[in-house]
Symmetry: C2
Subunit: 424 residues, 2 copies
Amino acid sequence: MTITDQLISFAAKPVPPEASAMMSLSLYDWAVCGIAGAREADFHEFVAMQTGVGTGSCAVFGGGFVPAATAALINGTLSHALDYDDTHFAHIGHPSVAVLPAVIALAQEVHADLDAVIDAATIGVEASILTGLWLGRAHYQVGYHQTATAGAFGATLAACRLLGLDKAEVRTALGLCASMASGLKAQFGTMAKPLNAGLAARTGVEAALWAQAGMTAAEDGLAGPLGFGATHHGEGAEINLPKKTWHINSISHKFHACCHGLHATLEALREADVDPEMIQNLSIRTHPRWMSVCNIQTPKTGLEAKFSYRQTAAMMILGYDTAGIESFSEAVLQDVDVVALRDRIVVKEDDRLSETQSEITVQLANGGLRRLKHDLMTPMSLETRAAKLQAKACALIGETQAEALWQAAQGESLRALTDQLVMS
Amino acid sequence: MTITDQLISFAAKPVPPEASAMMSLSLYDWAVCGIAGAREADFHEFVAMQTGVGTGSCAVFGGGFVPAATAALINGTLSHALDYDDTHFAHIGHPSVAVLPAVIALAQEVHADLDAVIDAATIGVEASILTGLWLGRAHYQVGYHQTATAGAFGATLAACRLLGLDKAEVRTALGLCASMASGLKAQFGTMAKPLNAGLAARTGVEAALWAQAGMTAAEDGLAGPLGFGATHHGEGAEINLPKKTWHINSISHKFHACCHGLHATLEALREADVDPEMIQNLSIRTHPRWMSVCNIQTPKTGLEAKFSYRQTAAMMILGYDTAGIESFSEAVLQDVDVVALRDRIVVKEDDRLSETQSEITVQLANGGLRRLKHDLMTPMSLETRAAKLQAKACALIGETQAEALWQAAQGESLRALTDQLVMS
């Protein structure tokens, strides 16, 4: 039994309530990211080019209706444009941006309700993570963007679930996906990074629709001879299908508009209550992997500020809302209080910590010592998570739309949701 | 200077007349294959699904007008559906099916003439071969379908040439292509093999248009760190840009409706005059590379028959017309004479042979021995090639359309050509 057989069987599994509750929150967060992402002017010409070539029944962030594959491409790209969407650390991927655009687009074509969307998306996100674990770190390290590669297989399985394809069709769809799944980490820092997510979403739509239309493909394009795993440096790790506890339950959401490597530190500081003036020096310890990712000592642009422990820690202590995109402006780099505090912060690597942990020591002017720590893996109740996501939504798209979107995402009507997505 | 820098410079080169003369013949042969391919019922639902989602100005084989990217996808797929199009053995790829659909689709949008199509396509086909040589045999052997991978880069460069993009835009287009180029050999024997060609053609159109629309991408997505070569088992062979003699001059055209790896064997057998009943056993020696490509021992479908030395050799000896598509039917698999003769044929790899050579030993019942051989690289004049291609066209689409298409392909009007493509 290969991962392909496992995924085909998984596509017919019932979804446990905890998993779909998490997916529902991710749907809300994804929609917030997409609505905000659609405001990024850089992407407007690309989007206009796609919406200009064909109309359909599938809503596009910021307005417009196009065929399903095109909607998946655009919405996948726009929802990852801010890099503010959910993450799963097991395989380092952003699952929702590949899966949800595919499912929601097809759902509009087949008139499915929101429950069916959540159901199919949960299968798809879990399948992305399983495929990512099967491909393993070797696949990621050599240069593949798991969000796009594993994500395409997740999007495909989600699309198959929504369309109700039979086992043979699901097998074909996965086989077709094996010839289309792609996306490189070399694109990080360019507009092609979010594009990778959009392409994965489109692949999911097309693989499922084309399998339905009678196309044929390799019997096991993912795990078979000369298959995707063999060609794409996959480790072929042994995978167990989830029973009660699904991987999606440990998905991470971003509550700060900056690199995910900074978030444990910011969460640790959020809980502290330290008078900035009292801080003599502050020492952050983090996993060694992050040192080359987000430890810019003296950021010179707003973008660089999003990859700086010292900068973001100083901002958090001084009361900046690190959830807001506009907080990472050129102005904050000139704030003399931030600069002064930043210069009293040091960052050290500590290989006893995991990638989701941070530990902080604060030396106070009065000789006192404060120790803070946080682990992003610390369980969080769904209620707490929902509240934090709503606060993030308010920061990104304003209170009115955040609330209207929340109501829509809690309901059963897909139309009520897509009515929110098309608002600009 | 990487292959990327070389391709960017190559995109601005003048095309020598011998190269464009060969491209013109390939254009004709490609159109014949596409017109015949559009009659394959298996693909009708797939095509209808694409033509149904948006209209545009770009002709589709068999009828219909769609946006450029969709036309490239459909026409690339249909023109490779019969696996009867041209091949370049330097990298083992089918260059025209990825490049021409991209160029012709965009040419209709920008109202270019047929000379501009030939010019851009020649650059693109040559670029496919150069990229394929740079990726090398390691890339092909591990499981990538060069037609699709190298083909996508060729299609991209051709599209850039046609649209007149500047150097920075060409660089971005190649960077975008690096995240999209894909396609596995695992699909051989399924409808996803021609689909790979269609996807490569679409990638060329999209990469060029998206670069024009201001998308950004990795600085050197093909040859840079974590780039396409590094991730996709590329050898990174040293490449020289062609001067007087271009690789396209040594392109091969198919005169049998089956895998090109079989053609040297079939040409050798064509010249033989052996009574099937007299054959005790027959031994085919071929280059080792073909053993995993077209050595299906006991084909179960007409499609599999096209990838079988034993099957096609038996057919040729028994007088089947291997140039005719209808020869590869389910019926031929049931022909007891074919099956009986097939069982007396063995296939052996021989690394002293090149990939275009075949040697055959026939052991006769009377104790006699016949030795046959052929090399596809035996030079052929343009006139001989044109005559053979016209004869093939007559067999595939009938004399009237073959002649009308020939006239159109020799002219300057793109419209005259596309008027032929849409005929069903």
